[in-house]
Subunit: 371 residues, 4 copies
Amino acid sequence: MEEGRQINVGVLGATGTVGQRFVTLLSAHPWFVIHKLGASPRSAGKTYKEAVNWKQATAMPAGVKGMVVQECKPEHFADCAIVFSGLDADAAGDIETAFRAAELAVFSNAKNYRRDPNVPLIVPFVNPGHLAIIPQQQALHSPPLQKGFIVTNANCSTTGIVIPLAALERAFGPLELLLVTTMQAISGAGYPGVSSLDILDNIVPHIGGEEEKIEWETLKILGGLTETEGEPGRKSFDMHARHPLRVSAACNRVPVIDGHTECVSVRFARRPPPSPQQVREALAAFTPDAKALGCPSAPRYTITVHEEPDRPQPRLDRGYQDGAGVSVGRVRQCPVLDIKFVVLSNNVSIGAATSSIINAELAVLKGVVPA
Amino acid sequence: MEEGRQINVGVLGATGTVGQRFVTLLSAHPWFVIHKLGASPRSAGKTYKEAVNWKQATAMPAGVKGMVVQECKPEHFADCAIVFSGLDADAAGDIETAFRAAELAVFSNAKNYRRDPNVPLIVPFVNPGHLAIIPQQQALHSPPLQKGFIVTNANCSTTGIVIPLAALERAFGPLELLLVTTMQAISGAGYPGVSSLDILDNIVPHIGGEEEKIEWETLKILGGLTETEGEPGRKSFDMHARHPLRVSAACNRVPVIDGHTECVSVRFARRPPPSPQQVREALAAFTPDAKALGCPSAPRYTITVHEEPDRPQPRLDRGYQDGAGVSVGRVRQCPVLDIKFVVLSNNVSIGAATSSIINAELAVLKGVVPA
Amino acid sequence: MEEGRQINVGVLGATGTVGQRFVTLLSAHPWFVIHKLGASPRSAGKTYKEAVNWKQATAMPAGVKGMVVQECKPEHFADCAIVFSGLDADAAGDIETAFRAAELAVFSNAKNYRRDPNVPLIVPFVNPGHLAIIPQQQALHSPPLQKGFIVTNANCSTTGIVIPLAALERAFGPLELLLVTTMQAISGAGYPGVSSLDILDNIVPHIGGEEEKIEWETLKILGGLTETEGEPGRKSFDMHARHPLRVSAACNRVPVIDGHTECVSVRFARRPPPSPQQVREALAAFTPDAKALGCPSAPRYTITVHEEPDRPQPRLDRGYQDGAGVSVGRVRQCPVLDIKFVVLSNNVSIGAATSSIINAELAVLKGVVPA
Amino acid sequence: MEEGRQINVGVLGATGTVGQRFVTLLSAHPWFVIHKLGASPRSAGKTYKEAVNWKQATAMPAGVKGMVVQECKPEHFADCAIVFSGLDADAAGDIETAFRAAELAVFSNAKNYRRDPNVPLIVPFVNPGHLAIIPQQQALHSPPLQKGFIVTNANCSTTGIVIPLAALERAFGPLELLLVTTMQAISGAGYPGVSSLDILDNIVPHIGGEEEKIEWETLKILGGLTETEGEPGRKSFDMHARHPLRVSAACNRVPVIDGHTECVSVRFARRPPPSPQQVREALAAFTPDAKALGCPSAPRYTITVHEEPDRPQPRLDRGYQDGAGVSVGRVRQCPVLDIKFVVLSNNVSIGAATSSIINAELAVLKGVVPA
């Protein structure tokens, strides 16, 4: 960690579920200093302690209790080098645009701009290279921007799987087919989110829009950032087009508090495909740039490969490394595709706020945000 | 229902989880009369009320409370036309063999003889034709048997999916690929079964032997019963060999009391494959022989097709028709195979005791068991 | 049951949690015929099937699916002899008043008028005699009413305990002290009600206003209806005043779907107090007027006394008699007061809609509502 | 913390639920060094990693993975200054006696010797003075012992309440009446412990022997250690005899993983009793000797008093200070006794291993165990 690096940051939607997680993580961050907290007009003017309905299992950090919550207007955040957005989708659209226009660097967990052709959708261990679209995002803005931009991170259920999938593509070349069935924690729906009457002793085999997100985001994240054909100098996301990847997702809500479990089957382009043991080794050996560059929030083990037949399990494994890595287990042959395995990712950590924070760390280390 | 039909039956393993379900269902049965209850030596000699730790959410039927529990020895069950076995696998092997050798008709929920080449593995809405192996089972016994035989029903997670799959094969011809991810209820593991510490706020992505059972049993059930090549007059199960079917299962235990939810993707041999709407219609129209023949425990609707996007759900749908049918929902295209959907089946009803009972009803109606 | 008795009834708040329960129970009722369904203006004009988000574990009754939902205005319900109200408290106040003023007999599950000095608060197995206040309620109305009135039933957690307490007072004379700790099901909070994030793997040791309700309602229900001192001919509820009863309640929300469990300790005025065995016998022998008069929804066993040390349990016992009775277990001496025991009542049945319906049955049988 | 203090300790029952907790806590302890791990003969000879079915939500400490598990025989633990016992009750009796006879200092979480008149039953924030019975325990042993002894800690549900009760007695004098209803976590029953079929969507209103433990242990812990009448020099536990305290407990198992919630009502001898506000202040101000003496595992806040109306809650508050303190909320008047409130204690921390460890720290600081 760099001694003395001190970067003022703001949190938008600070009283919400994702916002509380940002506040918790940032309060213990070696570089980032919470400078401003933004929330709805109803909360503005109150201290954070008064405004928030704190639902974390850890105590509220002492440093934020007395901070006065601001409305989410750029002028209140002018002295923040970075703004993290935990806003709900219905608010995020306009607010994040306004912050970008005011030359603020926005790292957003909201879904609104993930499909924007000039906004990178970054899972920090997978495609930090997509930060290279930012100059184009700024140049195409009207008026062109110097410092303002938006970076999004992926949907929680996408994030969990693309990390091991990226490790596999790096080791064995492109994937061709991906079939995933998710069992997603209730915290993924925010608070109050899922009614207890809907989920106690129950499974809900549907999460609105989730399957589409996995099927689309996976292609943007695992795909390249290339010169646009016929438009020299113009970059675009190729959606894994050179090696078309077909993705099928089935999403379920389960009575688990935190931690998404996903059963994955894949087929590789390469014949013969790698063996389960080769897959295990490639996953365990995967070292992303975020680790190599020294992002302070990157975990020691990006992918933990379990040998026990009944792991990973959300209750036992979601807290490992504070939820910043992912766990993979049960790597075995798939009689239909090539290889199948189970992924566990902590949806409130690497699946949400932790990803935004590491994305910001990457942006600092790469000079996209001035330190 | 046939007026006046009265058939004495026994229940083995009557104090266990499956046995309690047999007792509950048979107490209200129009034909079958519980005549004998068998359990371990430790329970023998006690009244059923004393011997059992009743765990059903319905009251213990009055008629069985005072019945004296017997040891599971054929001589105590000699006057039973049918014996239902809810025995655990570690006891079922020897006891069921002894009962068959004593010329008793055994309908078993245990796994021990499912792979026996002369024992039919019957899901009552799918392959009652496999009862035709029974004469061969009797003839090959030493000494040959007149009345004794064993019929097994399938594993609970297999049962749920083969019913809609059989409906699809009947309507659209053979399947080629099947990928299924299960979310299985705790009651599938018996009592005490799954420790609460293992499953509250958790998923266990592994159930010992379960994936192998689905992958193997599906082929036996959906496959034909054919003349053995080179052995005229000798029948064998063809394991779906004429149209090889590859099956891949991923099994998970979830914190749900009753009801297995399974996410299924299939590929048909036929090109082009049926549309989701054609699949929905074929499923809803499926009418098995058990219904046509008048099995009293066959439900009015074998497959209920849900149109709502978030159904079926175990808590809301497992009790429909007392769990004797299955529910299918979310029929839609699969970007990797052809069609995907969700199946819910009640693992303690059609997934266990109800299947055995309908199998016995079929055997009575087909004259395999004298009425 | 009286052959041929057919009474048209309406249900207010028919799409809500309590309303769905009313609809389920009334669809199978021997006297009452669902004639009108009322809900919010947003639902009015739709069929019930379109308007409702059906959350019952039993199928929607066929007869109501196509009924058109009305706004909750008296003119739409003019031909109903009885109106059941499952309205939320924020709507119930004005609507129930309007219905009463329009000469309709309202049996309400809402809390709004429970404390009204002229409205009876009736637990059907406890204080049907309080129906005698109705003429006064009508006479004091401006203008005086001929047929319109409001009858309320009690809060679900109150209902469960006052039934055994009434049995004890009938057998052993007045109680002096009552200490109760509740463990209340999530369905008591309606839908969406309790967030799953608040209750999975958790207890919430507080339910707003619940302790006050138990402490106050118990006195109104168990107390007498007497001549008001100094006002001949004017009746009032004496709040158990002749034998003051002190009540202390501690209320908790627990992760149980249906069924309130309550740990009760009592002290009797009478010295020496009854023994646990005498208490058990008195509870089991309790036969309320609703049973003697022949209310069709009164259960065969009003209070089921369990001898097993670990019963009653909500999951196993709440469905007994369709939840119309209550279960008591673990009757034993209390080292601090006299006797302690556990009560289980089904909060969505006898704790809500079932009570309203039996109250209406009582009103019919007593001639308060013309049959 | 004392620099350089290094005390070798052993753990008996190291592979069990409580043992795993001992191992987790001791691996991070500033004084105690895990030197030996004991378990059943079946585990002996294996490495800890091989022998244990690790069920903690934190990773297994690196230092113990390769340690070879011993049989629980004193000769293997001869060089341990302290032995912690997480043995099950069926094994603890003989083993702990043998260890004491071999001059080892045993701090036990088992129930076997809690009622022994010469064994102290110590809740570390309440009655460390009871360590003074140890010389008598040693002297009465045959042959008399120099160093060996047994110290027990209390049952988890007792521990939670005696801490605030001790604070109240210190501030306001003796209590007279105590009525407590518990809602206890499944982890209190060990592993596999409670079957998931018994507790999902359910409450079990009975825990074998638990109510008796609370009613008896509370008196031993809160009572004095006095000269035995008529036997000068002989000490005995007075069971709160000078101010008789009547205790009534009702115990329930609830679907919560960790954390016992207890609803308490008390009556003080002193008239008038303290007000709720005085009680709150006394609880918050309570500073036990363990804190004053500098026990490293004593939490900063022994009793956290919550002002929010809906706290404490097990999921949100059990992890505070790693579960070493207790939380109290909802302090208010009790209409039957004087004051009522809710206590939350972490049954696997202060309710089990943490208590044993602080007891050992106290013994070191008081010179009962040589440092």
